[in-house]
Symmetry: C2
Subunit: 314 residues, 2 copies
């Protein structure tokens, strides 16, 4: 982290609402890199607040969400997407004029709507989505390098001040992320295929495997190294967060799931009718895509993601 | 690897046919642990044989598959499942009486049929499936610890000599694997859900993402850390191997895919009808399964499979 510590902070006062994996990671990187003079952390849960204090994520941790935003320049909502409206209502009257309100939600259309509906016009709304995370939740799960070389997508409404977008851009760059901008609508479509539908089918196959009668659950677990275990990682992600994602990006998810289902029906037919060439062609094409992802630094080239216990000799 | 080197080899002469990821890993571990006095490696490809010599996987590497099995005690076919019959025909007349013929295929019913049809009754057939691998192929991809703490499933036909099954069991134990026995039919059902269908849906979603018009391929690659990249690993697996798996385990794959599709339709419906409780319940259940897989040593507990570049501070 050294060498990237700012001499002058970007903001006087930042408030992070929700001290989970993302919120606590933001708190860590903001502290480590001196991104604000004051960092206030807020969470409804007394247990989470207590833990944040023990972890020394900030000297200012509170359960009082409304009070936490007072005099704050930059407020980042790190709560499940479905909680956005409630938090917006709670903080609306306490925001100072000119404050920038942002978030980290995996869905943007619904978040923009909720924020625009409930926040005063005196604040600037600059929604953001850092495409980063792990399968773990809570304040202990966060770490300061979570956003390093990951993409963060900003979806500012058209009437947002350019200078405020630039500030949020600078904030995420300082966190180690690459920043991209697009409309909320396009974001929701892109993430439906790169994140939401993958999670959906991972949750689904893990559920299917758990419910079989002919194959016992202990066999599924034992022989999971054949491929199944890869899916269990994202199927272990936070249930509340993902419930909210699917309910708040319904149209794009159902659209992309429709494509997936069409393709799967075609693939199923290839197997039934022994279309060896068709299968080989598809499997060759998919191999190339991973190479591009590795080349662009979004994935490790290490076999099996480099996970233990086995390690190549070379 | 130290401490596990045998004083006396298990076999006088082993022949490994097919020097890919699995064959070359077997060659490495057999050499390192002194599992045979002589290890012969055979592959149809002159390029692969050349590379095996350069890697010093064995002092005996040949393109002559028929000759490679002469006087051999233990022959392991490490070829795509669809090549089993051809290899069996080629080696049949050259096998010595009492030799044990095994394989490492991901499908067992079709392999047993092919071996029983083409091999003389004077040899013993003990099919095996080590549930281990990576997304890479070829002699360079192998490593001697690939089978460490992985399961290897034996599916001996009913008329097999008990002593021969024990020898193959001992071989895989010496390779570091845990050994389990079941019928070929049950194996094919278990692996359909723990390996074949997961690969199928991974291949499928990577294909779907590649074919979209509204979302560019470069966006899919950029934002793949949202979940999609996890699927690209197994979708980068060997195309020939996987084509053969699906064509040779058609019934079980289509059966398990049917279950997957039913469940996915139900999940799709939950999203469409805002069934928040149903989604939450499923996502909570799937989280528990990963914990069991980790507890049983088949997966790493490290966030994001422990892959770089980001690493937790703690």
């Amino acid at each position: 982290m050294s060498g990237k510590v700012r001499k002058e902070p970007l903001f006087e006062k930042i408030t992070i609402i929700g001290i989970g994996l993302i919120g606590s990671s933001l708190a860590r990187v903001a502290l480590a890199r001196n991104l604000a003079r004051t960092i206030v952390l807020a969470d409804r849960s007394s247990i989470v607040c207590q833990r944040a204090k023990e972890l020394q994520l900030s000297s200012s941790v509170t359960q009082d969400i409304a009070a936490s935003v007072e005099q704050s320049d930059f407020i980042v909502l790190c709560v499940p997407v479905g909680a956005t409206a409630d938090v917006a209502i709670e903080i609306a009257r306490h925001l100072k004029a000119g404050a920038i309100v942002s978030d980290v939600g995996s869905v943007k259309g619904a978040v923009v709507d909720a924020l625009q509906q409930h926040l005063p016009s005196s604040v600037s709304i600059v929604p953001a989505h850092p495409v980063a995370g792990t399968e773990y939740s809570g304040p202990d799960a966060g770490f300061s390098t979570l956003f390093e070389n990951r993409w963060c997508i900003l979806t500012p409404p058209e009437n947002t001040l350019y200078a405020d977008v630039e500030k949020v851009h600078a904030f995420w760059t300082a966190c180690g992320a690459n920043v991209e901008q697009m409309t909320a609508r396009h974001h929701d479509l892109v993430l439906a295929i790169t994140s939401h539908v993958p999670h959906l089918i991972a949750f689904n196959i893990v559920g299917t495997a758990a419910d079989l009668e002919e194959v016992t659950q202990s066999e599924v677990i034992k022989f999971s190294a054949g491929g199944f275990r890869d899916f269990t990682r994202i199927a272990a992600s936070d249930p509340t967060m993902w419930r909210d994602v699917f309910l708040n990006n319904k149209d794009a998810v159902l659209e992309m799931l429709g494509r997936f289902n069409e393709d799967l029906a075609a693939l199923q037919r290839m197997i039934r009718w022994d279309d060896a060439e068709g299968l080989f062609e598809l499997f060759t094409r998919t191999r190339a895509i991973r190479r591009s992802i590795i080349e662009q630094g979004q994935e490790t080239p290490a076999p099996n993601f480099g996970r233990g216990p086995q390690l190549p000799d070379q």
